[in-house]
């Protein structure tokens, strides 16, 4: 562990709102993520996964504590950290290619505007179209694509500027199971050949295990990091591994822990109380 961490999260707290309506979204989060690591955040909804990811992306500020990227405290969003959202983030008025090349229009990416660079960018966009399996629809508009294809465009757009860090917030949450499996292998492929550090938020435990090298389990009320699991699978993965004993054992362990921390028990008790009441009033 003498390589410096890519992302360091030190004693981060986050409270939304003030006074009686205050919500403790994050309570003392600490985590170090190594270069080229693939980390997945998993946990019940409302445990602060998105909040933590958005803070790394610079879209949200912490109430206290510190987040460092490459040793530097972050100050707002930066081109070194690209983000992929669950949906509605593509620009529907731009074609697939123009969406992918969107960052080229921005001043932040215009320092190198020699014709050689422009050519290189065009080549990069082309390579991403191929990598993401979009080379047959370069001129289509997002509205003409399926949800899975739209997310491919969103990922390609995020990769365009060669970000060191890719932040993904339930990017496949709205896709059907088959499309998801395809996307899982695709994003693992991207991780391998782009060498990016990936932080991936999901509420799907299977997805978290299949993709991640480490799994950060978060728990709600207050939002916090609960347990960190190393995934006992080889770096190269395939769909069959989802049925391996190691995979299933880890899945069970995580699911049990989520149930323990999510307060689902009280909900069950509540249900039992309600049905008991209903029975009583019938009698």
């Amino acid at each position: 562990m003498n390589t410096p961490a890519k992302i360091e999260i030190n004693a981060v707290y986050k409270t939304f709102n003030e006074g009686a309506k205050a919500i403790q979204a994050l309570d003392n989060a600490n985590l170090a993520i190594q270069p080229n690591e693939f980390v997945t955040f998993v946990g019940a909804s409302g445990c602060g996964k998105s909040t933590l990811l958005r803070m790394i992306g610079g879209l949200e500020t912490q109430s206290s504590g510190e987040i460092r990227v490459n040793g530097q405290p972050i100050d707002g969003p930066g081109v070194d950290r690209a983000m992929v959202f669950q949906h509605y983030s593509l620009y529907p008025w731009l074609s697939v290619t123009d969406n992918i090349k969107f960052c080229r229009q921005l001043k932040a990416h215009s320092r190198d505007r020699t014709s050689a660079d422009v050519e290189k960018a065009a080549g990069r966009a082309d390579a991403l179209l191929h990598l993401m399996g979009l080379s047959h629809v370069p001129t289509a508009y997002p509205n003409q694509l399926s949800g899975g294809m739209q997310q491919r465009v969103a990922i390609a757009r995020a990769l365009m500027s060669r970000p060191e860090i890719l932040l993904m917030d339930e990017p496949f949450g709205a896709l059907d199971a088959q499309t998801r499996e395809v996307m899982h292998d695709l994003i693992r492929h991207v991780h391998r050949i782009e060498g990016s550090t990936i932080v991936f938020v999901t509420h799907d435990v299977e997805e978290a295990i299949y993709l991640g090298q480490r799994i950060v389990l978060m728990a709600p009320r207050p939002g916090r990091i609960d347990t960190i699991y190393e995934v006992p699978l080889p770096a190269e993965r395939n769909q069959d591994m989802k049925l391996s004993p190691e995979f299933l054992a880890l899945k069970r362990e995580i699911l049990v822990r989520i149930r323990e921390t999510s307060g689902m028990k009280t909900d069950l008790e509540q249900l039992e109380r309600l049905s008991a009441q209903a029975n009583q009033s019938e009698a």
Partner: protein
């Protein structure tokens, strides 16, 4: 037969194009026939309800002997000028109200308050401040249109999905770049719709505007006809205003279709 009838009354279900067109035509023809029938009844006073033929004849004489085209032109000019003036101010202002909470807090309550004030009530003030020539008519239409327009533009801008804006932020876009390269293009279709709807409202203020010392225009003609009990001319004037409004509305819809091909979904 039973099947097609049940389909007509299925909520939101599509209906065959032929059925749609027939119904649309019937919706226009039936009232016309009704009007023609009632106006032809024994004992219907032409001063109260002239028939379609009377109105048509009056429109013709207005066109040939009088200056219908001139009235249409001047009225159109007034409406478009008032509407354009309000668009020129409302678009940037609404963009800022919709983008910055501070601007919204400062301007929206006032705008909300003013828009409930009737445009007619401003006539004395407008005459006092602007006088009685062309400017005053344009001003009335401006007052009637502007305050609604600002609020609608602001709402269109606020409807731009946050994810589109945040995606640009994570790509390093500046605030100015987000406004010009994300918010404006994203809101454009809604903005064009707002312009279309407010153009319709601008026309409804025409008669009010031409209350102010006008001596030309469709609204003025309607007002004058009322003084002389020329009910057929009142009808003709109202129909003309409606007709121009309809044409302009269709024009906007056509532009919308041509300008935003990316809106149409999967095929």
């Amino acid at each position: 037969m039973a099947d097609s009838r049940s389909r007509l009354w299925t909520l939101r279900a599509g209906i065959p194009r032929k059925v749609y067109l027939t119904l649309a035509l019937a919706g226009l023809v039936v009232p016309l026939l009704l009007w023609w029938f009632v106006s032809g009844l024994e004992g219907t006073n032409k001063v109260f309800l002239p028939g379609p033929a009377d109105v048509l004849a009056r429109t013709w004489s207005w066109l040939s002997a009088d200056d219908l085209l001139g009235d249409m032109a001047i009225s159109t000019w007034r409406v478009v000028a008032g509407w354009l003036l309000s668009a020129v101010i409302a678009l940037p202002l609404g963009l800022y109200i919709g983008s910055y909470r501070a601007v919204q807090a400062f301007l929206e309550p006032l705008t909300d308050f003013i828009r409930y004030m009737p445009a007619v009530a401003f006539i004395p003030l407008v005459m006092l401040w602007i006088g009685i020539d062309e400017g005053s008519k344009v001003a009335i239409i401006f007052i009637g249109t502007f305050f609604q327009m600002v609020l609608m533009v602001a709402e269109d801008v606020r409807r731009v999905p946050m994810a589109q804006i945040e995606a640009a932020q994570t790509m390093g876009a500046t605030r100015g770049e987000i406004l010009t390269k994300v918010i404006v293009p994203s809101a454009k279709p809604a903005l064009l719709d707002t312009l279309r709807v407010t153009m319709g409202w601008a026309w409804t203020y025409l008669v009010v505007a031409e209350l102010v010392a006008a001596n030309s225009g469709l609204g003025y003609a309607v007002l004058k006809a009322q003084r002389f009990l020329q009910t057929d001319k009142i009808f003709a004037g109202i129909l003309m205003i409606g007709l121009i409004g309809l044409v302009i509305d269709q024009l906007f819809r056509q532009i919308h279709r041509l300008a935003f091909p990316w809106l149409s979904g999967r095929h």
